[in-house]
Symmetry: C2
Subunit: 696 residues, 2 copies
């Protein structure tokens, strides 16, 4: 499943700086293009298609960013938002109870009154963008030290965001593109009043489970429908996607608008080698460890299994993604190609004296920063607060009350004025927290720290003050906290520094104690890594434009991108994969596996089989260049109609983080026809189908 | 498709000598065991199954060798023989005409009277085997030169075969096993009066065409039914396989009896390197060249396409097999494993002084012979008579009349008394010969010779005496021959040396002229290669027994073998392949490809869909260790019942020529249930279904 996974936890300096370009210009179907720089030339030359500004505006305003890891689109004038089931999964789990499991059973609201409010889902629609590169760059002067320049840049960015929010009332984010070669101000209309309209059983949304995840041929109805509200009423939107019930034909030109999370196609070789030799092996080991812990918890009983399902799903997903990416890095040919590309880029830089001077020793600066990073790598990636939800909330509370008192520009990332609404929305969420699940993960976090850092590490010591063993420490932490109650979190934040300083809540006590240790780490990273890598990235990004003009797209940043491609099968497993699958194939796979999990069908599909037209297309593949974060993105034809719902990439697409290969990299989507067929014939969701089809 | 392909054309010395052993004992599911040495220990330990001598005799006598490249089994007491459509394909093509195309349309004889006689299909049933190693080895004395020893061995083998045939009336073949470590006399009951009972459309037998060939999941009804006759009446057989309509369950123990063509699992490293660096690249280039020629011919029109279909199918099949095998050889890990195994085997030999002395310099002798072979490699593999069918027939006629006058032991291989019946059966076949198809291939054969050998080569010169260019030479050859008429071939042979010497038939004239050139090559190979490799092989084969006892199976030799395994899916394409597919999957694949060739369904399947139970299993996979030649083999359960029909291996199985890997090497079979479902509901073949099910 293509949701953002893992990548957000990468060391900041490396995630931010991805620094060089693949080739003189992006090949045929490649590219996650910003909407200010769409690939008009390629579209005209290859397809004779010239999207108008109105066409581009329409698809932009119909596109929705969903939560902090997914995409979606408006599909009715009354605010219906279509996304993936796996993007909605967190919300489905949060509204479920031991008595009513919407994840397993699905949900359909036939009327507005039946729709269920989501506890903490934020939707964003990109209203405007503005190039603020000049302003950001002018904030820095040549006389500044690297750290001063870094601080100045951050302060200016926070200022731009704050001004914009005050002026427009919109969520305002400054986004570095081309590793800082450009800075853009993105302003979003925000919806936080969102209700659930429809979700199928997870069994069919995620049919084939972890084995089939990131593979094709595929048979998943990975869809969920929300409705955006404003002031208690369904929002009215002028821009939504009209539905094409017949979908896209084999070979047809299609588009995706969505929010790819991150790619690393422009990393330098030094960065790639670091990823291959250090970052990925560590990350994979950590996933495996956590997965084992959560699976053991889930095996305790049905309710534990329900609680842990979303986390297990997420880790399995991340593990499969990272394994595929890691295998790419281990591929000697890929690394050779990357080295050749960097060599070519650097020789182009050498050939232009003014560019050469501007770039200076930027490549070496990145390599040096990585060497420095290695010296503290173990601390940086292992000092984690035990219990993922409670630990995170405690640290956010402690930091929030301190940061808001500082000038906006000097605050920690995540605590700028423009970011506070979204932060509080999640921090004060009424979604349930499961102590048992927190406990097992907390114990393991401490054990891992003990393994990696030893008992003398100050962070570890602080944790073990609550108990001599990981088990006892976590038990004490859980016994002494009330942070599971969102009201308590709200009251603490309302009480400010004084209330937080006085709190005897165990998690708050721990967070107060370790925050200085973590702040020292952040400061060290800023001074030693970011202060060098950020300007190097900016210079290399500018060299990119100097050498290639703007014929390029930037690495993904979880901001709106346009990609184009064709519906197309590929050579696979010694034969051909067709461009689409059908409902026949779903039943084939179920019977082939004797209807055993994860290949079992929901009862509804067994009982309702004869109602279905089994020749209905179910999933399809295209050359669209996507990555985690694109999940839920609409697939759009040249008439701007909705033809499919992105939900995954094939196994060959995983290496797409580093390099796009059109021969086998495929985006996997749910076909529009299958959604209507299922809604009408299996779910009795006539009203929803009519609204989507515009028939009401 | 798993028919013997290409391998028969390998240089004799290399095909005959495959010399070392994989490991101390064959791992779990591996092995193509002779029926004198079945894997009783493994079966007992792993499955608690102890086949009785009667069980083994029963399945041996129910197993049929089909033609010169396939397998089959008796499935009724009245001589019904079930095999693959692709094994029957040659016969189907030969009985077809421009007016009636049984390949495309299929065939069903509801009554005995409607059954169609096959022009030249020979069936063999293994009646007895006898170890004749001592007799063969005693024919050679230490005082003989290598060439004398080779001749003595061949003469003794011919003598044993002739004596046996005279005594038993059975087809009698002496088979070298374990690269000559043992020699066995195999006696077969032979059926040459064979009629076609049933064949489906090739479109469904070979559904998915070349792309799906050698892959899985798969959806093929690759079956054909013949009936063996004796004296104009259906033969009565005591041993035939009872039908299990429900087939084998996932995880069930199953067996195959069949005739694997050749494997090279015991080749020395020197041989493997030769295969990798010289034999495979040459072979692949030659296949590609011939395929292009035949496809161009087929594109001329419908009738040309019909004529060329079987040849194109064969070359595509060979090309896919050889590509898979070649990729295996290019895999550095496989070669490392092979080197390690040879090293271990040789160190075990070193450890036993008497074995060490016996083996002597055998490994070096093989390597030296290969070096010698390289010196004439280009001539040996390129001097071919133009026009594959007519050229072969002409050479056989010229040689036959000469060879029969010699003492049996001194004749060329293929012309011993015991081999003459089968040779004449094919040589005098009434099957049609297509001059157009002979022409295009003939022209290309000459062009290829010109490229590789140049115009001064005596063989090339002899061919070009018929015309100054390849085109003109072939035109003249075809204009001056009557060998297309089987009566002419019969008369020439009947007329003996005198008639052949007097013949002005162009192909006979050419064959007379080039035969001495080819005989010199054979002699050179015998003196320089076989005389050294054969005794080396024997010694290494004996070392095998000395080191490992008889816990091993010999490389495949197109003789009856027993393999065992389990019905089992495998990890594939990032996910799992199920152990079976269903009719649902067939329709999925057809609709997924918009019913376009080679994924289109016969009209019968479109019209008859609603009659079918789509949940019927269609194909299934097992760990059975098979290779080309096993096509048409029965899959048998422990009750000795027929549960499936072997027709292919998956893409991962191709490397099985050199090494068996249970994790992904799978045998692909047609499920017994699908055959009955199709016969009854789509083909109206109630009588045949009843006979197979024993219901009549």
């Amino acid at each position: 499943m293509n949701r953002i996974s893992g990548s957000k936890k990468w060391p900041l300096a490396l995630a931010a700086a991805a620094l060089f370009v693949l080739a003189a210009s992006a090949p045929a179907e490649e590219g996650m293009w910003t909407l200010d720089n769409p690939p008009l030339k390629q579209l005209k030359e290859k397809y004779g298609f010239e999207p108008t500004p109105a066409w581009l505006e329409h698809i932009r305003l119909a596109s929705v960013r969903v939560g902090d890891g997914g995409s979606g689109s408006f599909v009715s004038p009354d605010g219906l938002v279509l996304t993936n089931h796996h993007v909605a999964l967190g919300q489905l789990q949060k509204i479920s109870t031991p008595q009513k499991d919407y994840v397993a059973d699905g949900f359909y609201a036939a009327t507005l009154a039946e729709e269920i409010p989501c506890p903490d889902l934020e939707l964003n629609v990109l209203y405007s963008t503005e190039n603020v590169t000049d302003r950001v760059q002018k904030a820095m002067t040549p006389s500044m030290t690297p750290k001063q320049a870094l601080d100045a840049r951050k302060a200016e960015i926070a200022k731009i965001e704050k001004e914009s929010m005050a002026k427009t009332g919109l969520r305002s984010d400054v986004v570095p593109l081309y590793s800082g070669g450009e800075y853009w101000l993105y302003c979003y209309k925000k919806y936080t009043e969102v209700k659930l309209v429809f979700a199928p059983e997870q069994q069919i949304a995620f049919y084939g489970g972890d084995p089939d995840n990131f593979t094709y041929p595929r048979y998943d109805l990975d869809m969920a429908v929300f409705r955006a509200y404003e002031n208690g009423k369904p929002t009215k939107v002028a821009h939504y996607l009209k539905w094409s019930a017949k979908g896209a034909a084999d070979g047809e030109l299609v588009f995706v608008t969505g929010h790819p999370g991150s790619t690393n196609r422009r990393m330098t070789m030094a960065q790639l080698v670091y990823q291959r030799d250090i970052a990925y092996p560590n990350r994979l080991a950590s996933y495996k460890r956590r997965l084992a812990i959560c699976r053991a918890y889930a095996s305790r009983g049905a309710e534990e299994a329900r609680q842990a399902a979303n986390i297990i799903f997420g880790i399995e997903n991340s593990l499969k993604v990272s394994t595929g990416e890691y295998e790419g890095l281990l591929d000697a040919k890929l690394m050779e190609n990357k080295a050749a590309e960097e060599k070519e880029f650097r020789s182009l830089i050498e050939a232009k004296p003014e560019v050469k001077q501007m770039v200076g020793d930027s490549f070496q600066a990145v390599a040096a920063a990585i060497e420095k990073l290695k010296s503290r790598q173990t601390e940086l990636s292992n000092r984690n607060l035990p219990c993922p939800t409670l630990g995170r909330f405690a640290l956010q509370v402690v930091r929030l009350v301190a940061e808001v008192k500082k000038p906006d520009g000097l605050r920690l990332e995540g605590f700028h004025d423009s970011q506070l609404d979204s932060l509080k929305f999640r921090l004060f969420s009424p979604a349930p927290i499961y102590p048992g699940l927190e406990e097992v993960q907390g114990v393991d976090t401490i054990k891992q720290m003990l393994d990696k850092l030893g008992p003398q590490d100050p962070f570890v010591k602080a944790v073990l003050e609550f108990g001599p063993t990981p088990e006892e420490a976590v038990k004490a932490l859980l016994a002494g906290t009330k942070l599971t109650d969102p009201k308590v979190r709200t009251q603490l934040v309302a009480g400010g520094e004084k209330a937080v300083a006085a709190s005897k809540d165990t998690f708050i006590v721990l967070a107060r104690k370790v925050d200085p240790i973590l702040r020292e780490q952040i400061k060290w990273q800023e001074e030693n890594i970011d202060s060098f890598v950020s300007p190097a990235g900016e210079k290399i990004g500018q060299a990119l434009f100097a050498v290639h003009g703007k014929s390029l797209y930037p690495d993904a940043t979880f901001t709106l991108r346009l990609t184009y491609g064709t519906v197309k099968g590929y050579a696979m497993n010694g034969t051909l994969a067709p461009s689409k699958t059908t409902l026949y194939g779903l039943y084939d796979r179920a019977v082939s596996f004797d209807n055993k999990p994860p290949f079992d069908l929901p009862q509804r599909y067994i009982d309702g089989k004869d109602k279905l037209d089994l020749a209905t297309p179910l999933n399809f593949v295209s050359t669209l260049d996507i990555i985690g974060g694109n999940s839920g993105s609409p697939v759009i034809n040249r008439r701007g109609e909705f033809v499919g719902l992105v939900f995954d990439g094939n196994i060959e697409s995983l290496v797409g983080r580093f390099i796009y290969d059109e021969t086998a990299n495929r985006c996997v989507s749910v076909h529009s026809a299958a959604m209507i067929e299922a809604l009408k014939k299996l779910y009795g969701a006539q009203a929803l189908a009519k609204e989507i089809l515009g028939e009401k």
